[in-house]
């Protein structure tokens, strides 16, 4: 399909706050982007009109109970069927920060055997509390996460994290086994790294939240649901990069650009 025909849906709830960065990132690449309150979506239930769905960052419903939990259960209850259909059709579903927390709470991620009834992973409170800082993450995918296909393996993306609960956790009793499965099924997509590109190995602040195995983002076994804690939409333009002033004028785009471009290119080619 043509880029201009791609329809991206960004949902918001009370407390969502990174919606506009996500909207403008997609919009600049060509697609039509709708930013819609979930209450409206609960009535219209027209998810099938869209090709890409993104749950943005923020503090949905104040992150009470657990980050993302209330919105997740509400979505599951009100549009659970439509969401599952959307995913089953292979369309890209992306969650950033609070959106990642939500995808985990809804059971789409990791989604070992499809969407689970209860969460199979968690994003626990971070070792250093709420922090906004820039990190580096390395693209670890080997091809399963199709929407990231435009990135070279080993691509390092610099962008900020801004969260209090983002420590990726697997159940401790099966941690190693499940980690192996993440690799076996090519679900490991982003890991925190140091300046030289080596893995953070749980060193703070390179791994900003204490995430197990430096996990910053994963996809489902089918590869079309992607969740990550860091914010590529906040690194979309060159003037948002932390040291752009080292050059006399900022580059047009920042590290977040290839992330969104890859998603749009993928949909353009495959749908």
């Amino acid at each position: 399909m043509n880029k201009e025909d791609i329809r991206v849906l960004i949902l918001r709830a009370p407390g969502t706050n990174c919606d506009l960065e996500a909207v403008r990132s997609f919009r600049e690449l060509g697609p039509q982007v709708d930013l819609i309150h979930t209450q409206k979506m609960f009535k219209d239930k027209n998810l099938e009109d869209y090709d890409v769905l993104l749950f943005p960052g923020g503090f949905s419903y104040g992150d009470y109970v657990r980050s993302g939990a209330i919105w997740a259960k509400e979505c599951e209850y009100r549009i659970g069927k439509e969401l599952s259909e959307f995913v089953d059709e292979g369309k890209p579903l992306i969650g950033i920060c609070n959106g990642f927390q939500q995808l985990v709470e809804m059971g789409f991620l990791p989604g070992w055997k499809g969407k689970s009834l209860y969460p199979e992973a968690a994003l626990g409170n971070s070792t250093h509390g709420y922090q906004n800082r820039w990190i580096r993450m390395r693209y670890e995918g080997k091809g399963n996460c199709d929407m990231m296909g435009g990135l070279e393996e080993g691509f390092i993306l610099q962008c900020p994290v801004a969260h209090g609960e983002g420590r990726f956790i697997l159940p401790p009793d099966q941690r190693e086994e499940l980690l192996q499965r993440l690799y076996d099924l090519d679900m490991m997509v982003w890991r925190y790294v140091r300046e030289d590109g080596s893995y953070a190995e749980n060193d703070w602040p390179e791994n900003p939240n204490g995430a197990y195995h430096d996990v910053a983002g994963i996809c489902n076994p089918e590869g079309n649901v992607l969740g990550l804690m860091p914010h590529p939409e906040r690194a979309f333009y060159g003037y948002l990069m932390p040291e752009w002033t080292k050059q006399s004028t900022p580059p047009e785009h920042g590290d977040g650009y290839p992330f969104f471009k890859s998603i749009v290119d993928y949909v353009e080619k495959n749908f």
């Binding site: 209330i70 259960k73 992973a121 971070s126 009793d173 204490g210």
Partner: protein, 82 residues
């Protein structure tokens, strides 16, 4: 019948608990010899049920569905008639 459930959500053992650790440090800073703090959450849920049996099933469901993430949380509750 009206019921009240007092629900405690605690972190499973084996997880680090930054909130608890920070609190422990703070208490130590105030001069208390504290060995360990684990933070937990508590909810009071007021609801209706047919009988105690059903009420118990309902609150169990609420715990599993929203109040906990079974990957990291344990829960227990005290159920009483109002």
């Amino acid at each position: 019948m009206k019921f009240k459930a007092f629900v405690y959500v605690t972190l499973k053992s084996g997880y680090s608990d930054p909130e608890g650790d920070t609190t422990a440090d703070a208490l130590k800073g105030l001069g208390y010899s504290v060995n360990k703090v684990r933070a937990s959450k508590a909810y009071e849920v007021y609801f209706e049920g047919k009988d105690k049996e059903q009420a118990k099933a309902l609150i169990e469901e609420m715990c599993r569905r929203l109040l906990t993430n079974p990957t990291k949380d344990d829960y227990r509750f005290e159920l009483s008639e109002q």
